[in-house]
């Protein structure tokens, strides 16, 4: 298994190289002028050109790419054109809100969705099952920002139970931290929950029809033990896959939720950078995203071995 893990890690290198080249190329082909945005509307063309030269944005494409790649290989992802801060520092600064949102969303989604999916499978064909599936469809159908606005209206404005917007770091105290994350996590988690519930139900249905489950039933074990200690572990592979993919997407930043709730996460960092053509930030963060995505997929694959001892690499 370790040899497999090492091979997968080494395979990341060409993947990242391709990502770096594609992202760099697309950015420089796309229209937009960061020097003009920096200089401002009142600046003359000479002033804009002076900034362009200072930032080396007027160098040929291949020279800019080599400069950036050389630095990136040494762990230096460059400096933001706008804020003059290292890209890595900007990314790390945004990481806590993003991770916090991703973790809480995952906890809420998994904690609620897995039992719901298990219940639906156990009561397949009944009103409970249809109710769960209807919930799943609704969860996919509503855009996150609509759910966010509704939650804000009910719980923050009308009931005044939770704050409307913002993020408080953990250093400010656990309860302020948690209170600011509840609504965005639920808004984001609803569609994630719907997806996990469906996958759980489908996977559980397959496992519940197997012979060893009939044996467990015959032995007289209580339903909860049958479902959660015998059936669910055998149904876990696709569930873990979908959770892993979802977590990777969450870590990539969920810009709509971050925008609605004013959370300074990685998603907003990237979208702001794209809108203003902050090339080093876009290039650096997308490279980190790619590496993260590859690592998360590797972790999922390795988890299969833990969940299902029959799997060997």
């Amino acid at each position: 298994m370790w040899a497999y893990a090492v091979r997968r890690i080494l395979a990341t290198i060409p993947v990242l190289a391709i990502v770096a080249l594609v992202v760099f190329s697309i950015l420089h082909i796309a229209p937009g002028d960061p020097a003009g945005v920096i200089a401002g509307d009142q600046a003359t063309e000479e002033q804009v050109q002076a900034i362009r030269s200072k930032l080396r944005l007027d160098l040929p494409f291949h020279e800019q790419f080599i400069l950036w790649l050389t630095s990136a290989l040494q762990g230096d992802l460059g400096i933001s054109i706008f804020s003059n801060r290292p890209v890595m520092a900007l990314f790390v600064q945004r990481l806590e809100p993003t991770i916090a949102l991703a973790v809480l969303t995952t906890i809420i989604a998994v904690t609620l969705a897995v039992p719901i999916g298990v219940l639906a499978a156990w009561r397949a064909g009944t009103a409970v099952d249809r109710g769960v599936m209807s919930f799943a469809v609704l969860g996919f159908s509503f855009p996150v920002f609509v759910i966010g606005y509704v939650l804000i209206y009910i719980f923050a404005i009308k009931l005044k139970l939770l704050p409307i917007q913002g993020y408080r770091p953990l250093a400010d105290g656990f309860w302020p931290f948690l209170r600011h994350l509840v609504l965005p996590s639920f808004a984001l988690g609803l569609s994630f929950m719907a997806l996990i519930a469906r996958i759980t139900r489908a996977s559980m249905l397959e496992v519940l029809s197997q012979d060893h489950i009939r044996t467990v039933r015959a032995k007289g074990l209580p339903a909860w033990r049958l479902l959660f200690c015998h059936a669910l572990p055998n149904a876990a592979v696709p569930i873990v896959t979908i959770i892993g993919v979802g977590v990777a997407l969450l870590l990539g930043g969920v810009v709509v939720t971050e925008s609605v709730f004013a959370i300074p996460g990685v998603g907003r960092l990237v979208v702001d950078a794209i809108l203003h053509r902050d090339y080093p930030v876009i290039q650096g963060v997308l490279l980190i995203f790619s590496a993260t995505y590859v690592m998360v997929n590797l972790i999922i694959d390795l988890l299969y071995v833990v969940i299902d001892p029959r799997i060997r690499y």
């Binding site: 920096i38 200072k54 945004r94 923050a156 931290f177 925008s259 609605v260 809108l275």
Partner: protein
């Protein structure tokens, strides 16, 4: 692993997380939480002309002179100043007690270096430096500026309130190449920048600079005593306007510098919220026509456009309520010393049918125009009005949608519209940013032409005359002539002026009316 063991581990993890991160309660401070006009990404007010950076800079840096509520220059960091009889030598003496945020006193050498850096970038500053023979510190507190010839705008330039403002910085920082952004935010202004809490694009924090020595006069726009009554200002960028409004209505925020006009109804009836246009001058909206390519390379066609413009249509789109806008055809804005009524008759007629007949006569009826539309910018609303207006005038309009960054790149292109160029775009500027020929980069002509490439040598000559003229009456004549020529050649098409609204909780009092929100002088009743 057994089920029960898994559940136990999960419970322990939850308890561990809950146990972590409990912080001591913060000391109670008076804090203003506000939403700025935009996303603060760049901190150097000399490197960029962006207003959000200018507004940030007013918090932590100070100026030698500043404009008061009547838009008259007043000494700010300067204690006393004099001009020699031949009007060539200006001597400025700094006030006592001025200190940088990191401790050392402000010196004349700091100011000289700051003026040089500003003078290398800013249009008015460049003009001043072009007439400067020498600029030197005489001693620790005294600055001497010697001119090559008498000019009428020295103090106006040092007091300008629009970007780039001549902020004073420590010499070591001011010696940074003007085309390189500074990285240290050390000023002598009434607030300190808290670098450790800056989240670019999201949050900026300022704290009161307790060693700041304000002037004794009452605060008056950017001049007078900058007395700070709060401990801290947190400027939080919230991209969603609806959420920002709701947060302010509920008390999570104290002030919103730039609320969406169409959402003001959410708070206007709220007794705890004040809605007011804080900038009595506001913004000028204008249209730029590309003089290089057909149809607007033809002066007659450009002049025809003036007759068909109905400013009110544009202003309603930008400001909504009639209380917040005014029809204004003046190139150098209305309500300011250089307001002129020369040559404005076509702009007040609002007669697209007349434009059609003029286009017919010029052989341009139905001419195709590419109108750039910055969809991620508030001016987008006015662009849609412009599209309809130009069609009514008889043009065939192609609306080319793009983001602001792309527009900035494309407007610099001198290529024909069909090859990546353009014919028309709209933008805006603060009234103080267009109020005289030196500060108004948008109407520069010929070699210094802005993105319209207008060239009428009379403009260049009149601008020079205006710069050298100190007599107000003669200056007015030059201004009138300038405007007449600008409108005859249609350097730009003024589309009126509007005043953005701010909203704030009633706990805040004594907000200074100004083009930017100044956080000195504001008191917050009830504390935190």
């Amino acid at each position: 692993m057994k089920c029960s063991r898994l559940l136990s581990l999960a419970a322990m993890a939850a308890l561990f997380v809950i146990g972590c991160g409990e912080a001591a309660l913060a000391q109670k401070k008076t804090v203003i939480r506000s939403v700025p006009i935009g996303n603060l990404r760049t901190l150097d007010p000399i490197w960029t002309t962006a207003y959000i950076t200018r507004n940030h800079a007013y918090m932590i840096w100070d100026t030698l002179f500043a404009l008061d509520a009547d838009n008259k220059p007043q000494p700010q960091m300067v204690d006393k100043w004099s001009v020699s009889e031949d009007k060539l030598t200006y001597t400025f003496t700094l006030r006592e007690g001025l200190k940088w945020h990191d401790g050392p006193p402000v010196t004349a050498a700091d100011c000289v270096a700051s003026l040089r850096r500003w003078g290398a970038k800013d249009g008015m500053g460049q003009a001043l430096m072009s007439y400067t023979a020498s600029l030197d510190p005489v001693d620790a507190k005294t600055i001497r500026l010697v001119l090559k010839q008498p000019i009428g705008f020295v103090i106006d330039a040092l007091a300008k309130i629009d970007s780039n403002v001549p902020f004073m910085m420590p010499e070591r920082i001011a010696k940074t190449d003007p085309n390189t952004a500074i990285t240290e935010m050390i000023g002598s202004g009434p607030f300190r920048f808290i670098a450790s809490e800056w989240v670019p694009g999201s949050k900026v924090v300022y704290e009161k600079f307790t060693d700041y020595v304000p002037r004794k006069e009452p605060a008056s726009q950017a001049a007078g005593g900058k007395v700070v009554y709060v401990d801290r200002v947190e400027s939080i960028y919230i991209p969603d306007h609806g959420v920002a409004m709701a947060a302010l209505a509920s008390g999570e925020l104290d002030l919103h510098e730039s609320p969406a006009t169409d959402l003001l109804a959410m708070v206007e009836s709220n007794p705890d919220v004040v809605t007011v246009p804080n900038d009595k001058l506001g913004w000028q909206l204008f249209m730029s026509l590309n003089h290089l390519h057909p149809p607007f390379d033809n002066k007659a066609v450009r002049q025809a456009v003036l007759w068909g413009i109905k400013q009110q249509d544009f202003l309603v789109a930008m400001a909504g309520d009639a209380k917040r806008y005014q029809v204004c055809a003046a190139i150098f804005a209305c309500g300011l010393p250089n307001e002129s009524k020369a040559g404005i008759e076509p702009l007040l007629s609002g007669n697209p049918e007349k434009t059609k007949s003029l286009l017919q006569a010029a052989g341009a009826l139905g001419a195709r125009v590419a109108l750039m539309d910055q969809t991620d910018n508030t001016v987008h609303r006015a662009v849609l009005i412009a599209a309809q207006a130009l069609r009514q005038m008889g043009f065939t309009v192609d609306v080319v949608a793009m983001d602001w960054s792309t527009l900035i790149q494309r407007r610099a292109s001198k290529a024909p519209p069909a090859q990546g160029g353009w014919n028309v775009f709209l933008t805006n500027a603060t009234a103080t940013g267009v109020e005289n020929p030196l500060v108004n980069n948008f109407v520069k002509n010929c070699a210094e032409a802005w993105y319209h490439w207008a060239c009428d040598q009379r403009i260049v000559d009149l601008n020079r005359q205006w710069a050298l003229e100190a007599d107000p009456a003669k200056r007015k004549q030059i201004t009138d002539e300038l405007q007449r020529v600008h409108l005859e050649n249609v350097t730009l098409v003024p589309l009126g002026m509007y005043r953005p609204t701010i909203i704030y909780r009633k706990e805040l009092v004594d907000i200074i009316p100004a083009p930017a929100i100044f956080y000195w002088n504001i008191k917050k009743r009830g504390g935190a």
